[in-house]
Symmetry: C2
Subunit: 230 residues, 2 copies
Amino acid sequence: MKKYCYDYPRPSLTVDCAVFGYEAGGAVKVLLIERDAEPYAGTWALPGGFVGMDETLDEAARRELEEETGLANIYLEQLYTFSNVHRDPRGRVISTAYYALVSLAGRTPQAASDARSAQWYPLRKLPELAFDHAHILETAVERLRAKVRYKPIGFELLPEKFTLTQLQQLYETVLEQSIDKRNFRKKIIAMDLLKPLDEFRQGANRPAQLYSFDRTKYRQLEQSGFLFEV
Amino acid sequence: MKKYCYDYPRPSLTVDCAVFGYEAGGAVKVLLIERDAEPYAGTWALPGGFVGMDETLDEAARRELEEETGLANIYLEQLYTFSNVHRDPRGRVISTAYYALVSLAGRTPQAASDARSAQWYPLRKLPELAFDHAHILETAVERLRAKVRYKPIGFELLPEKFTLTQLQQLYETVLEQSIDKRNFRKKIIAMDLLKPLDEFRQGANRPAQLYSFDRTKYRQLEQSGFLFEV
DNA sequence: TATGTTAGTGTCGTATTAACACTAAGCGGC
DNA sequence: GCCGCTTAGTGTTAATACGACACTAACATA
């Protein structure tokens, strides 16, 4: 018994989340779930689901992400709304995609809701994806790369205290290109965004200076719409 | 009698178009319609309307724009999907906004459908707008400015044959800042995007060299994702 | 104490950018 | 016909930003 009736037909609305995970030294990963329900049961897909009547798309994206993978407090940014007429075999479903880049550290997904399992997949070794999610993911990767080139990243993606080498590796991983060490340091230091700490990271070799982000300066820069080219 | 029934409630989906118009020497204008139907009857708004079941959002945006204003063949680009829960008094309505920048020349809107009237409004002298359309417009202006800084504009916005001064004025108008004449010419010429013609524009003063766009080169550059800073 | 590994640092040539002022060509009025 | 007004058109220079490039420092371990 269908209870919700309208004068005109309405498409369904979903959200999908392309969450990229970064881990020092590793490749970029993507958070995927194995679908438990039809259609595409048993197939891997981006976390996502239907939008509720009393939540914004942002809220829906965050909620679905947490429901299906257990990951909360991830800042998602709207990517694009995909509206191909036949993108979903259930009928007319329009989906607004979100994306994010987060640190893998401490973020182990736990499948729940209609996800049979949930895990990080290396971006270069993806399984077959449900719906048009491969296409969504492509779009998200493009956007992520484009964005990283003019907005600094780092918050969230590194431990509270980190070395310049770690920061450089982050950029090299996301951009998939190597960067000159001296030039990178020059530029980052010139931005005056990092606070050198009194600590050093001990280890097998020469101890590395630890830095932390200066969030105040970060926000100032953010508002003035600055450019940041690596 | 409501004929379309579903197991779960569904939001309505609309599209809205922020179409900016440029005219040599004038300020940037925005295409608005005066709503004929409730809610907001008599108030000015962005052209737009409900999405059909067998059309993509892009198609819906183009269709609504033509229905309400008579303007066709405008290349719209997706801007953002606005989903505030109370953005529409009729209930839950989510709207995907599109934007475009076109030449005013020969584009006189003709109201139809549920638009009582349709006209170009100077961006600096806007009336009160319906729904959250003022907010959508703000977002569109930001995006337009950002985009113009790295993608060349000009096609569509100038007559087939134009002078470098006209092209410069276009940039100055859209960016709302003045540009050094010599530097601008140097840069534009260096891009090798313009064909100097054998003609000059006659008028009251020194005749100006006429140029036209070299569309082949434009497409080449477009594909290589080039940057273009003015 | 010798070796291996990562941290850290400066210069220079080149390319890009911004600032800046005068001459050229046509028109209209006198 | 010449003077004045208006718009078109043109190069140089100084400052800055960028990319390329190689060695020394510090520590751990064998």
